[in-house]
Subunit: 345 residues, 2 copies
């Protein structure tokens, strides 16, 4: 796919956890290696990250998406698992279980706990989550990693995704659980009847978020969960408007390939909000900027090429390319395709 | 040493960390095995434990003496080190160092961190340290350990030992450091010019402490630090008076053997308050109940037998026996000697 991309000085990505982190890793690799049109190792990448999965557990503030992005880009991630630290140990988890402390289904690794201790202590000392994130990233996102990347939480305010599930044992027949309980304990195995993002209406974007969207050369929605990751970022008051208003093109990468998600639980979440679980379904859910949505372009997997006309009908420029992030080269090629889609020749 | 001890239903020990914990372990062993006169496996032992070494580190409430006693009696202690958990791992410490977070000289083990997480979260939820300690001990001090023992913090209030040291770089020529910094970072290698126990005057004994001293058959001061362990317990308003007033005999075991401490840093601390570093010096520092002190009897090591007359002169009944806690049998024999000293035949 040829491209007439201008010099890419800045790219802004609205990311969730594993999928977004891997995409950004490939994007950075592609920028350094020169395969991304207009890009270079000097391109500054800002990752605005979902914080609606955050929660407090065992007295610690845990930010799964921020940490997944930070560890992935800082080469500290457990690649097999996709989250948490490499060479992790689990002594504290064993002990917490021995004490009988709930929740026993959310295991914190010992290395990971250090991150949460630093974060919790800084938050309790009055620093904002943005400041804490910047401090933590001083260790992980150094020039030694060959990146010019910064990580911003979507908001410094408490925003929490909760999921309503059927529960015949309650008077209402429903129970609302924190996203982590839905995802980690229940493994998204029961239907989500509704998603409730507590605190979202009152939240404000973290410092730098609106600027990163307004003053950039490209906005990318990576293959993250459209509901509980990118959806919650766009739901912070002001963010969707900023994406709609930016002069930069906005392109997205489908998290749905061949009728299901590649990682995570996008299918369950899309179903809960009545969106068709397909590449075209998600693209149309985001919608074309020309008709009130947030997208200029939408990449789908080559297996979903038959859905391209439905996207073009909706005013979204679309292309089909291989969308499996199997290695850095494959992911960099996806990032290059996203850029090419923003500025087609 | 023959003894006319009555049935020992209850024993109360005022303990610091390693030395006190090992003594209590030997006492319990001796009660179970029948070598302690009047005692049995049914004897209830209450350990009132120093909390003036407690501090907050990395946002966690750490209670070194409570934990040392709890882990020792619950068979979870690292026996070689004398403190902390057996089969400990240190992943979180490595990570905290990588983040550059101070203090780097106070290492928290991963297993140990779980204890601090439970404690910190309970304290922040509004439970008292007594309640937290009881909850933690439900895991460690079970009947399966063959003990009838309970652990009480000396106070639920914040009481903190600080140490004044010379520092030519300050205007006053002095610097005041937390006890943990003096002990762990400086390894008590500089003279302590003064000991300041912050918050002590305003503290009240924890629930059950005064009752455990008044309504017992025997009070024991184990070979703990007379200044920063037993001294701080006695310094909680009401405790010294309770020890002086109890109808039970009060006997102590010298932490100084042959002119120096066996564990810890009693020598440095005694010097800082102008007390002679000897078995007799400590015994006379505690003083005889008959003349305003807290002791009826005082056990010294056989190497210090020549000091017995100085103790008897001061009104303290004294005996010389082997005082090395080299194994459970040796320690049980010390405990038996302490009981025999309380009720000499």
């Amino acid at each position: 796919m040829p491209s007439s991309a201008p010099e890419l000085r800045r790219v802004t990505v609205l990311s969730g956890g594993v999928g977004g982190a891997r995409f950004v890793q490939g994007l950075l690799y592609g920028l350094r290696s020169g395969v991304v049109p207009g890009g270079s190792a000097d391109t500054e990448v800002t990752v605005v990250t979902n914080t609606a999965d955050d929660w407090w557990v065992h007295g610690l503030k845990v930010c799964p998406d921020l940490d997944t992005v930070m560890y992935t880009l800082g080469d500290g991630i457990d690649v097999e698992r996709g989250w948490g630290r490499r060479e992790e140990t689990w002594s504290a988890r064993t002990e917490l279980e021995a004490y009988g402390v709930e929740p026993t289904w959310f295991g914190l690794g010992d290395r990971d706990i250090a991150t949460h201790l630093v974060r919790t202590q800084m938050l309790e000392a009055g620093f904002t989550l943005s400041q804490v994130t910047e401090a933590l990233c001083r260790r992980w996102l150094t020039p030694a990693h060959g990146t010019r990347v910064r990580l911003l939480p979507m908001s410094d305010d408490r925003v929490e995704t909760h999921v309503a599930i059927a529960d015949p044992d309650t008077p209402s027949g429903r129970r609302v659980v924190h996203f982590q309980e839905y995802w980690v304990r229940l493994r998204a195995s029961v239907p989500a009847e509704a998603v409730v993002v507590v605190g979202q209406d009152a939240a404000t974007p973290a410092p730098g978020v609106l600027e990163a969207i307004a003053e950039t050369d490209l906005v990318v929605l990576p293959p993250s969960n459209p509901v509980v990751s990118v959806g919650t970022i766009l739901g912070v008051p002001g963010v969707r408007d900023a994406v709609r208003a930016t002069r930069a093109p906005v392109v997205g990468v489908s998290p749905i390939v061949g009728g299901s998600h590649v990682h995570g639980m996008a299918a369950q979440m899309l179903t809960s909000i009545g969106v068709e679980v397909s590449a075209a379904g998600v693209g149309r859910h985001y919608g074309a900027r020309s008709s009130g949505g947030v997208l200029d372009g939408w990449l789908v997997d080559e297996r979903d090429a038959a859905q391209l006309p439905r996207l073009e009908e909706a005013g979204v420029r679309a292309r089909a390319v291989p969308l499996m992030m199997s290695d850095h080269d494959a992911t960099a090629a996806m990032a290059a395709a996203a850029v090419s889609l923003a500025w087609p020749a």
